[in-house]
Symmetry: C2
Subunit: 265 residues, 2 copies
């Protein structure tokens, strides 16, 4: 499915290039966080493979907020740059919200600027949608999973996944029209909610927290968690895992996304 999406994007890019526009994506990476470097590398590779132009600007971890804002403003003004991605998390001396608000909304391909978040909740489709929720909708649509009237439970209320995910799924349109519940750390009876979900979306950031007994038989389970767990049987001593305990969930769910393999790296 991912390969099909990549092919479709490449075809759209080729069409734009034929019309004289080379889509340009610039990624800004501050500091040398290993996970961020991996993500940025993957973005760079994928956009190049799709025929886009663009570069990655690597700044030292000591970069000041003023310096980063100046870089963003330069990219805002550059007509060859159509998309700007400032990789999160940023070093402590930089306020991420200030940086996000400085990105031109029409270049904010991460969809984190308040204008784009607002358009998402209102239901307008002329903004950018944050990538994981957008990908989940795409996955559900391409898998033939009906969201209309479905009971969807989103576990997690982050600004990157939980909240935009819920906002997308409640819109009155194809890929929406679900009855959406958002659960989080303050939810009293989490199991009662997860057990009634036709579509369960786990975005909590807690390793293997959702076990098979918490899932309704036949449910569609989307696990966007990406956690590291100690595992002495591996060379590294750790392994990647999701928010769902895959081994106990796989026979209960009708469809389930593996971790790793579906999202992230």
């Amino acid at each position: 499915m991912a390969a099909a999406v990549r092919d479709e994007v490449a075809a759209e890019v080729a069409d734009l290039v034929a019309h004289g526009v080379i889509p340009g994506l610039t990624v800004v990476l501050v500091g040398d966080d290993a996970a961020s470097a991996t993500y940025v590398g993957a973005k760079e590779k994928a956009s190049r493979a799709a025929g886009m132009a663009g570069e990655t600007i690597r700044l030292p971890g000591s970069t000041t907020q003023a310096d980063l804002l100046a870089v963003v403003e330069g990219l805002n003004a550059d007509p060859a740059v159509h998309g700007i991605l400032v990789q999160m998390p940023l070093p402590k001396q930089i306020d991420p919200d200030t940086v996000i608000r400085h990105i031109r909304p029409d270049k904010d391909v991460d969809g984190f600027h308040p204008v784009n978040v607002g358009k998402l909740l209102i239901g307008h489709t002329d903004g950018f949608v944050s990538c994981t929720p957008a990908g989940v909708i795409e996955l559900l649509l391409r898998s033939g999973v009906e969201t209309r009237g479905a009971e969807v439970v989103v576990v997690g209320r982050s600004n990157i996944v939980g909240k935009p995910m819920a906002a997308l799924l409640m819109q009155a349109r194809v890929g929406g029209d679900a009855t959406v519940t958002v659960c989080h750390s303050r939810t009293r009876n989490l199991v009662a909610h997860t057990r009634r979900a036709d579509i369960l979306i786990a975005a909590i950031g807690q390793a293997e927290m959702i076990t098979g007994d918490m899932i309704k038989p036949g449910a569609v389970v989307i696990d966007v968690g990406m956690n590291t767990k100690p595992d002495p049987t591996t060379a590294k001593g750790t392994r990647l895992c999701g928010d769902v305990h895959f081994a106990s969930a796989v026979d209960v769910a009708s469809k389930i996304t593996p971790v790793p393999g579906a999202w992230g790296r």
Copy 2:
């Protein structure tokens, strides 16, 4: 409670005036819809009573979109105008979203501009929040109703009430932290949801649709519906009613808002 809020606002206005700033609210009314005229009159009266400056600009129903946008731009640029309210609904020749997007976000006291809606969902508190959801939170807080961990069911997904209401209630803060479900016309088993709600918020626009048997005993019921029903016993032949059937709900709920009397006119 409303009187207390009005007094607090008047005190804040007096403080601003003492510092040389006279808060100015300008309301724009296009056409002669009777309900809109009533709302606008109430807003004008309340803001004057609180000591604010401001006027109502009344435009004919034949006003073009370009003319209305020019009025909005004049108000955007006027330093004496701090808040702009364009009364909805607008005549058919005017696209409401275009008008909303033209209002300066920092004067958009209705909180309908995408920037303000986005801040609301993100959880930032430096934007304007649409008035009914903001009022519901205020009512819950002042009534001592705990939202943290509460099961809240919002029936209705409008951009004016349902969606911003759900967004506010899921934030990680006082007056939020609820487990929120949004139900709507595509919801399969509405009664199962309404019956498990500790706090039930009805914003559907269907006269007396929520009956007492759909409410959990002891629930807090907020009815923001404002509908007109035939009633031959009245002089007008109609009466105002909410989305909740008050007579059957009042003995089941622990607290309930009456219609009319709490919201709207």
